[in-house]
């Protein structure tokens, strides 16, 4: 059983404070959804935890299985078991998906140990079959000229290959039509299980129809202001974010 503990986290970009005292504990097997309006710090939270160099942690801590990861580079955090599914995955011309994933798998092996190419391809193809991805995909350059749906499927394929302990999924539903959304959600649901914890960031309730969360949290102005189960998402959908705003105003008044 693994745990990801985010404790009173404060994150800034330059002088601007974005995340202001965010706390949450995720355990293996749990799916947490973070909902909130634009500009409330959801994506910043995900990127800061993943180790993006543009984001400064000004306070708090993030612990993976009890160890703080804040001193680690992004690649160390990934090897420790974190995975960020990007809202806007980078396009990398000239680097094939097969070579890219191979480098990522190799990076997880002990020094001096070489990847077994046959076993690697076997595993890659079985994951692709599972996600209904054409094998020709592997020779294409990473995300280069991909449609929105292809990019997100490529993220899910990477996640399936790298088998993280915790996945931070940043607006995985953005830019997807309903068919693509279904495929991506099927992929996540396939991976769901006792060994994976998920933090799913979304703006809309729609994604949660396909990936049903165990917990739903509402993020506002850089921190969680309300938590509940999946019914909270439905309530939000019905009443809108203004409802949260009003509740907050009442609470602070």
């Amino acid at each position: 059983m693994s745990s990801l503990v985010i404790r009173d986290l404060h994150v800034a970009i330059g002088e601007k404070k974005i995340v202001k005292g965010f706390s949450l504990t995720i355990k293996s097997g749990e799916v947490h959804a973070i909902m909130g309006p634009n500009g409330t710090g959801k994506s910043t939270l995900a990127k800061a935890i993943a180790g993006h160099p543009d984001y400064t942690i000004t306070g708090g801590d993030v612990l993976l299985d009890g160890q703080s990861i804040l001193e680690q580079e992004a690649d160390e955090r990934a090897r420790a078991g974190l995975f960020l599914a990007f809202q806007y995955p980078s396009e990398i011309p000239g680097v094939s998906i097969a070579n890219f994933l191979r480098a990522a798998v190799q990076a997880r092996m002990a020094e001096g140990e070489e990847i077994d190419a046959t076993a690697y391809y076997k595993r890659l193809y079985s994951k692709m079959d599972l996600l209904k991805i054409d094998r020709k995909f592997t020779s294409r350059s990473v995300n280069d000229g991909f449609s929105g749906g292809e990019k997100k499927r490529c993220e899910i394929l990477q996640m399936a290959m790298l088998e993280p302990k915790f996945a931070l999924m940043d607006e995985t539903d953005s830019g997807l039509d309903i068919d693509a959304l279904r495929i991506v959600a099927d992929g996540v649901n396939t991976m769901r299980g006792p060994n994976l914890g998920v933090l799913m960031i979304t703006h809309y309730q729609r994604l949660l129809d396909y990936i049903v969360p165990d917990y739903v949290h509402v993020m506002w102005d850089g921190r969680i202001v309300k938590s509940g189960d999946k019914s909270l998402a439905l309530e939000l959908e019905a009443k809108g974010y203004d409802w949260v705003k009003k509740e907050l105003a009442l609470a602070t008044a």
Partner: protein, 434 residues
């Protein structure tokens, strides 16, 4: 006396006389040309700061002193890289060291892959017509003359009319020993509608040998011929290298050349393409990995001499450490070369803050109905791409290496042959892992 010495360095008249005396019996016209070349070499000045053709070059690093003509080498570090070849020549210190003869019935069909010494006697007409037949136009007249004067043996490849060879022909040139000077040469003549690939490799005995390499090649593609040339320069990191390549493309012929620059302390590479008849196409490609304090100086000239000709140049440099690159390219379109289609592009990937890339693209168009574009860019690793790779567990160094390969892939993808593509990739990789 002092003046003469500074103009010729180690290559004194006495050393030249020794060189001539070491040659096997060769035709008089060739020996006369060598003597004339030596006189040109000895009288031409070293490049000066004011020479436009040497703009940005490190002139203090250019020295002709302290080198000597090498003795025969007892062995070479040559090791096969797993590509099936139609034939192979291995040169060490200017002498033919080993040869793998033509596969199958190619010899019977008139294909020649052999030494220049042999060809000067047996194929005198072809050699006389094409060997160093194009005047140096890119600034290295002095070094071209030095090459011609001291050229010992080299490779001669002739593919007669209509003969197509699938597997590449390999030419390997090694410089072995500290302070040796070598003058490799490869002459390729492709007859009408002939097709062949020539892969040339330049290497040293070890990476600490200070050496001088003054090489050249001549590629001649007759009507309808298709020639692919790949040059891999991997001299010692203390070598000073000058290479001057000349390509002549005749009607409907196509030449693709890809030069990979890895070695040498300072390397100048001049590449001249002449599109002499309608339908001629020259594709000029280069990849450079410049690191530590290396300097790579590339000068190119695409001359369109006939209508409906095409040239496409793409030179990509990746720079690390305090390395420096210079690209100076010129497209010349003659007045009657209408419907010319010419491209020239130099792209630099800066992997270090201290590296320096200089680009001097140029056009000289005298026809009015042409399409010519040129451009040069320098960029750094995109931090978002780097973060993306790192977020998958790939360490920064490997991420940058992957991104550099991605940057090079556009050039490597132009090669039709997958084994060659992979071999070049592997060669670049070994430089990254040093």
């Amino acid at each position: 006396m002092t003046e003469t010495k500074s103009l010729v360095g180690a290559f004194t008249p006495e050393v030249f006389a020794t060189h001539l005396a070491s040659l096997p019996p060769l035709p008089k016209w060739w020996l006369d040309r060598k003597r004339a070349a030596y006189d040109r070499f000895a009288s031409l000045p070293m490049p000066a700061r004011t020479d436009e053709a040497w703009r940005f070059s490190n002139l203090t690093g250019l020295t002709l002193a302290g080198f000597s003509l090498p003795a025969a080498a007892p062995s070479t570090p040559h090791a096969p890289i797993g590509i099936k070849k139609a034939a192979k020549l291995v040169f060490a210190n200017g002498r033919l060291h080993a040869a793998e003869h033509l596969a199958g019935d190619l010899a019977g069909r008139g294909v020649v892959v052999g030494s220049l010494y042999g060809a000067l006697v047996k194929h005198e007409g072809l050699v006389k017509e094409h060997l160093l037949a194009q005047p140096p136009k890119l600034g290295s007249a002095k070094f071209s003359a030095l090459h011609e004067a001291f050229l010992a043996d080299g490779a001669f490849i002739h593919i007669p009319r209509g003969v197509e060879i699938d597997d590449p022909i390999g030419v390997f040139s090694y410089a072995l020993g500290d302070h040796v000077a070598v003058f490799p040469h490869t002459l390729v003549v492709a007859g009408e509608n002939a097709r062949a690939t020539v892969v040339e490799y330049f290497g040293s005995g070890n990476d600490t040998e200070a050496q001088l390499a003054v090489g050249a090649n001549d590629l001649y593609a007759s009507h309808g011929a298709q020639l692919t040339y790949i040059g891999k320069q991997d001299w010692s990191h203390r070598a000073l290298s000058f290479q001057s390549n000349s390509t002549v493309v005749r009607r409907d012929a196509r030449v693709q050349s890809l030069n990979l620059h890895l070695g040498a302390r300072q390397a100048r590479h001049e590449s001249l393409s002449q599109l002499q008849a309608p339908g001629a196409f020259s594709e000029m490609l280069a990849l450079t990995v410049a690191e530590s304090d290396q300097e790579f100086d590339q000068r190119t000239l695409q001359i369109h001499q006939a209508p409906n000709t095409k040239s496409d140049l793409l030179y990509k440099n990746a720079l690390r450490g305090t390395a420096k690159t210079i690209f100076s390219g010129l497209i010349v379109v003659d007045p009657d070369a209408q419907k010319t289609d010419a491209y020239q592009s130099n792209r630099n990937l800066m992997l270090s803050e201290e590296a320096e890339a200089n680009s001097l693209p140029g056009l000289e168009i005298q026809a009015n109905d042409v399409r010519c574009t040129h451009g040069a860019t320098s960029s750094r690793i995109d931090p978002e791409q780097e973060f993306y790779l790192q977020s998958r567990g790939i360490a920064k160094e490997q991420a940058d290496e992957l991104l550099t390969f991605g940057f090079f892939e556009e050039v490597l993808n132009r090669l039709a042959s997958d084994p060659l593509h992979d071999a070049l990739r592997a060669l670049i990789q070994t430089k990254f892992q040093k």
